[in-house]
């Protein structure tokens, strides 16, 4: 996931996103590409402890000097994730689940083309998990996003359009799944 997100450089081989070889970009270009097109949800949330929930969510947008903050969308996101009333609180005042939801809101705030999520529902109870997965699916369809999720939870994996199994660092031939009318296995 770090490689796709441009956080790490591959020792061998190339990575192509939308037909562009991102290993050929300079570090500065890579940073800007990542900022504009990719959203991250880290397993350890990586929230800024000095900012409250609202500011944490809006952070990636403020970095891009060409962008303005869409307040309505952020409010909508925070409400959907159920943390709107905690928007003025700081990360150390929140529970694990609330911090995780803040991280998810932050990743979605810029409506990125690709969302990389590492166990995004690991700390959430089953009811919230259903809501978060529902939100991710809806956002994915509405904004034509691609969500790449790493999870150990088989149940969540079943909800996805496509599953790739990785064992011991190698991709194992998994079951191709389908979700569209007519059994189209294109996303």
């Amino acid at each position: 996931m770090n490689l796709i997100g441009g956080l790490d450089i591959p020792t061998e081989g190339n990575i192509f996103i939308k037909g562009k070889d991102i290993s050929s970009l300079t570090r500065k270009e890579l940073t800007i590409f990542r900022r504009r097109n990719i959203g991250f949800v880290f397993q350890n949330y990586s929230l800024m402890p000095v900012l409250n929930v609202y500011d944490n969510t809006a952070l990636p947008i403020t970095f891009d000097r060409g962008n303005h903050i869409s307040r309505g969308y952020i409010e909508e996101l925070l409400r959907e994730l159920g943390i709107w009333d905690k928007r003025k609180k700081y990360p150390n005042e929140l529970s694990g689940g609330q911090q995780q939801r803040t991280a998810i809101a932050r990743a979605l705030a810029n409506r990125p083309a690709i969302l990389l999520a590492d166990e995004p529902t690991g700390n959430l109870d089953s009811k919230t998990t259903v809501e978060v997965i529902g939100l991710l699916k809806a956002s994915c369809r509405k904004y034509s996003q691609t969500i790449l999720m790493v999870t150990h939870n088989e149940a969540i994996a079943q909800i996805c359009d496509r599953i790739i199994h990785i064992e011991d660092g190698m991709i194992s031939p998994g079951i191709r799944k389908l979700s569209h009318k007519g059994g189209d296995d294109r996303c």
């Binding site: 270009e29 590409f33 504009r36 034509s144 149940a155 079951i175 191709r176 979700s179 059994g183």
Partner: protein, 290 residues
């Protein structure tokens, strides 16, 4: 006095420059949007700092989304074309049989026995035609979202029993045992009539493609965010490479040429289940109900 004039000139220069910049920005945005209209790739870089590059990045994305939608629309057009040709193909055989049997019936020296036989075969063909056109109509309506049916939390046992009722006779005839593991009757979000139809379709397939004397089993496993309903049979099975295609409209495996079927059943079932937000999987026919 001279100072005032200099300041005034500076002011005009600044204003003139801002107007010039604004014009240039407008022109570059205009050119970008033209690229989108004419479906041309945009030459500007989207990985530079600044407003123009950010706009380029976003407009690139819009271009891609539009391109994708155009592709999807073309695909749907092709699907409709193939649907129409498939439909006429499906109807051809029963219609040919119909005209054959009516011809037989019009032979004056026909024995009563032969007449009754032909009449019965005639009725079967009419039933088949009826079923095909009915399913096709359902399929089209579901695809167009013209049918809405109520989805409520209902006990699943009644629905499963409904389905078993429909299929029991056929299973008995082939001496195929139809059993289900004991399960608690749970409330699941579904529509009883339509879901029963889906289950009946799955059971019918299981019975159809299992040799006489075989077994079909139904089992239910509740998980935390969904419930899994599994239909297993020990019949001829589905080849790995075919699994993604079995839910396609009119798809019939080449191995089933000897068995009767129209290829609509699974497709229709999948449409109905999708409406109920249910995921279907085939390894041995698994249905997931939220």
């Amino acid at each position: 006095m001279a100072l005032h004039i200099i300041l005034l000139i500076l002011l005009f220069i600044v204003i003139g420059y801002s107007i010039y910049r604004k014009r240039k920005t407008f022109q570059s945005i205009n050119r970008l949007l033209d690229c989108v209209l004419s479906q041309e790739p945009i030459a500007l870089s989207d990985t530079k700092e600044g407003e123009l590059s950010a706009l380029v990045s976003k407009i690139n994305r819009i271009q891609q989304v539009l391109g994708k939608q155009i592709m999807q629309a073309e695909d749907e057009k092709e699907q409709v074309k193939s649907l129409v040709s498939n439909m006429s193909h499906q109807l051809k055989t029963p219609l040919a049989n119909l005209s054959l049997y009516t011809e037989i019936l019009s032979i004056p020296q026909l024995t009563e026995e032969k007449k009754a036989d032909a009449a019965q075969k005639l009725k079967r063909q009419v039933d088949k035609l009826d079923w095909i056109t009915g399913s096709l109509a359902k399929m089209v309506k579901l695809e167009q979202n013209a049918i809405t049916f109520d989805i409520e939390p209902l006990p699943i046992r009644g629905t499963i029993l409904d389905a078993i009722d429909t299929v029991y006779e056929k299973a008995e005839k082939k001496h195929i045992s139809l059993t289900s593991e004991p399960y608690d009757d749970i409330l699941l979000y579904h529509n009883r009539k339509w879901t029963a139809e889906v289950f009946a379709n799955l059971l019918e397939n299981a019975v159809k493609y299992t040799a006489p004397g075989g077994a079909v089993q139904i089992s239910i496993h509740p998980y935390e965010i969904y419930t899994e309903i599994m239909f297993t049979d020990n019949g001829c099975g589905i080849r790995g490479e075919e699994i993604p295609r079995i839910f396609q409209r009119f798809y019939r495996s080449p191995e089933t040429e000897q068995t009767e079927g129209s290829g609509i059943g699974l497709y229709l079932s999948n449409l109905i289940l999708e409406k109920e937000k249910v995921k279907s999987m085939a390894k041995k026919n698994i249905r997931l109900l939220p």
